[in-house]
């Protein structure tokens, strides 16, 4: 199976995008953490101020998945800013359905993203990977990625809504 296309996501794709987000979350053992809905994806990706950009991988009907899906992979990204080097492309999610792996779809998506990064004057493409996710880490390292957490000691932190509200109330 070699036939697939990569294209910009459209509003009609949000249902497939959410399905794939949940599949990836399941793989990362955090399926119950996905609270996003199709409505959120529509408003946040295709409204006046898009918070993200998305590419989808589509196969023709005769190659659809076992469950009858033609959208079989996606990548979600947005632009961020590093005060030392300027614009960056941040890769939030990147996933190809298991039955469609090994055909070069992931590589093509990554290539398209890096071309977007270069074309839009980004110095770097950043993303996070869980340290136990050896297949993904190998996939990225084979292609020249470096691990900044190991090399420079960066740790990711979060502050959730409850504590954010506490901070605003203290002012």
């Amino acid at each position: 199976m070699a036939n697939f296309i990569l294209r910009k996501a459209e509003p009609k794709d949000v249902s497939d995008i959410l399905r794939l987000i949940k599949e990836l979350a399941k793989f990362e053992e955090m399926e119950d953490q996905v609270i996003l809905t199709e409505k959120d994806l529509l408003e946040d990706g295709f409204g006046d101020h898009p918070f993200y950009h998305c590419i989808v991988a589509e196969v023709p009907k005769q190659h659809q998945s076992a469950d009858g899906h033609m959208i079989i992979g996606f990548a979600m990204y947005y632009f961020t800013y590093d005060p030392w080097i300027g614009k960056l492309l941040y890769l939030e999610d990147f996933y190809v359905m298991k039955e469609f792996r090994g055909f070069g779809i992931g590589s093509e998506i990554l290539k398209k993203l890096s071309q977007t990064a270069v074309r839009t004057r980004c110095s770097s493409m950043h993303f996070i990977v869980a340290e136990w996710n050896k297949p993904s880490i190998e996939f990225y390292k084979r292609r020249g990625a470096s691990d900044l957490s190991l090399e420079e000691g960066w740790r990711l932190f979060k502050i959730d809504k409850q504590n954010l509200l506490k901070m605003t109330n203290e002012e």
Partner: protein, 171 residues
């Protein structure tokens, strides 16, 4: 000591660039700073800003020993979590050493939290170097959670030549 926290203006970029370098020196990576106030002006105040910035200012009679009244800043932008939706990423938070312990850092962060709340963001994320104990303590006291420790997330990147190679698919 009285201070104000305001949204940065284009003319603040020289002070912001100065403080970005001070923070980079503290983080032991000053040679990694490649952009100047010119790029900051272009990227933060054009038609499509890539970041937001707050500046902390003291009055003339409290100016620093080098004559500066702009004594702290926070640089942040909007990101997107496929699990939770809109989030804010706080890229930099810095207060000049002689102005610490006066609530300026706390006020800067509370203002970022207020902006996050107004934009319906559900989470604030940021990264800290693993040896930076004063910052780690400051954030943990506000309810921050270390996702690198808790869930194993590592930061990866494709930078410079690695990014170009990926775009060209060179061997």
């Amino acid at each position: 000591m009285k201070f104000t926290i305001c949204a940065a203006k284009p003319e603040d970029c020289k002070d912001i660039a100065r403080m970005i370098m001070e923070l980079a020196v503290y983080e032991k990576m000053p040679d990694q700073v490649k952009i100047s106030h010119k790029e900051l002006e272009r990227d933060g105040f054009g038609r499509n800003p890539f970041y937001q910035c707050l500046v902390a200012e003291v009055s003339e009679d409290h100016k620093s020993k080098d004559g500066h009244t702009k004594v702290g800043y926070s640089l942040f932008f909007y990101t997107y979590s496929t699990w939770k939706g809109r989030t804010v990423y706080m890229e930099d938070l810095y207060v000049m050493p002689e102005y610490r312990g006066k609530g300026i850092g706390k006020a800067l962060m509370a203002t970022v939290a207020k902006v996050a709340k107004e934009q319906h963001c559900v989470r604030l994320q940021f990264s800290v170097l693993d040896w930076n104990k004063p910052s780690l303590d400051f954030y943990l006291a506000k309810g921050a959670e270390d996702l690198t420790a808790k869930e194993g997330w590592h930061f990866l990147r494709f930078h410079g030549i690695a990014l170009d190679n990926l775009a060209r698919e060179a061997p």
